[in-house]
Amino acid sequence: MAAQFEPPAPTRLEPVQPATSAGLLVVPALVGCLVALTLGIYGRLHSPTGVAVDIAGFSSPGTVKAWLASAAVVFALVQVGSSLVMYGKVPWIAAPSWIGGLHRWSGRIAFILTVPVVVHCLYALGFQTYNARVLVHSIAGCLFFGTFTVKMLSLTRRGMPAWVLPVLGGAVFALLVLLWFTSAFWFFSVFGFKR
């Protein structure tokens, strides 16, 4: 656990105080809020074009997004599983040496898969509020990228309280699943499993 690692250098002894450690979250949280607000405000102000860049191999923009989002959710499930193993929550599995790498790379892939989706959402469709599904989806989309930013920036800070990463990671996962249910799942249930 990197968070509990204390460098043995006696010359720079910095006692970790509870107030300071929670305060370390302030800057990442502010940056995350900025990301969420920027996406939301852009999605609201930009007038939707209906089209964005094509991705080869799929029949329509809707199917591209549904499959990319579904793939991201699969990698996010790997995220949850690998973090449970890393935190020792799965008693019958001892964390292998590569579990950290698996966690980092599944997360990177999941995140990168969501980027083409959000570009299409923001550029072609915008932040919409006209029914419950699109409202929940729009808000969750902004919060997802905001929370993801907070989580990634928190990783760079030493001395955070132990609950920070599990809570942020859980929130990112929950938001992604909510996004998937209000878009890809709905899409497949309406149009069927089209590629």
Binding site: T49, V115, V119, V190
Partner: protein, 254 residues
């Protein structure tokens, strides 16, 4: 200074985001240019003959861009002359129908002089009626529940995007004559306004949806009964629905 890897991940995401956004902006302007180029050939062949006569020759040259759809003919009225502007040949009257990308539904766009009606449906719950004013070969239409349609149209073909229920459907469709086209039926059944729409494609296949209560702000839809094209009727339970063509050439339904 060494940049922490989580920050690199974020930077990579932002870079991909910016790149795709820039590509999207570029592609939208590219698509407009592509349509202008496609219409330019039609414009060139039409303008050569416009001086002599308008009707028959314009129809003949209009067959060129519709080569993609073998059975299609243009819906240009013989009495109306097309107007050429910015390289587009803009027919005053035209019926366009076709499937959207990915076979997720069909769309019909009917332009009649200064007014246009469009309908998207997937033969089930996804559908929208849209209205708009054509301007210079461009359409920007709106419907209930925030449905929007933007398209460029020219002799023989139209392309654009219709957004229904938060899904963007991209289409590139061809001009057709009756019996292909758009059909509508409005009936009052037990106090509710039942509105049905059918799109008949160039190959004769049809797709239709029905709103059991179309006056609501957010009308729900279901599969429409099959439209009999010889009698223009459809049987919805005990109710016989009488359909009207929405036809650019005759102005029916406008």
């Amino acid at each position: 200074m060494r940049i922490p890897t989580p920050v690199i991940t974020l930077i990579a995401g932002v870079a991909l985001f910016a790149g795709l956004l820039a590509a999207s902006v570029h592609q939208v302007s590219d698509k407009k240019a592509a349509l202008a180029a496609a219409s330019a050939s039609a414009a060139a062949s039409t303008s050569a003959s416009t001086a002599a006569s308008t009707g028959a020759t314009a129809t003949a040259s209009a067959a060129q861009p519709s080569a993609a759809g073998a059975s299609a003919t243009t819906a240009l009225s013989p009495s109306a002359s097309p107007t050429a502007s910015r390289g587009f040949v803009v027919p005053p009257h035209a019926n366009y129908v076709g499937k959207v990308q990915g076979n997720l539904g069909s769309v019909a766009v009917v332009v009649h002089d200064t007014f246009a009606i469009a309908y998207f449906c997937n033969g089930s719950t996804q559908e929208a009626w849209l209205k708009g004013t054509p301007h210079d070969g461009k359409l920007s239409m709106t419907g209930k529940n925030h449905a929007t349609l933007t398209a460029n149209y020219a002799l023989g073909h139209a392309r654009g995007t219709v957004v229904v229920d938060g899904i963007a459907h991209v289409f590139s469709i061809i001009a057709v004559h009756r019996p292909s086209g758009l059909f509508e039926s409005i009936a009052i059944v037990r106090g509710a306004t039942v509105k049905a729409g059918w799109i008949v494609l160039a190959d004769g296949t049809q797709v239709g949806s029905l709103e059991p209560d179309s006056t609501s702000a957010d009308p729900a839809a279901q599969t429409a009964p099959k439209l009999d094209l010889s009698t223009l009727t459809a049987q919805d339970g005990s109710t016989t629905l009488h359909a009207t063509p929405i036809d650019a050439e005759t102005g029916s339904g406008f």
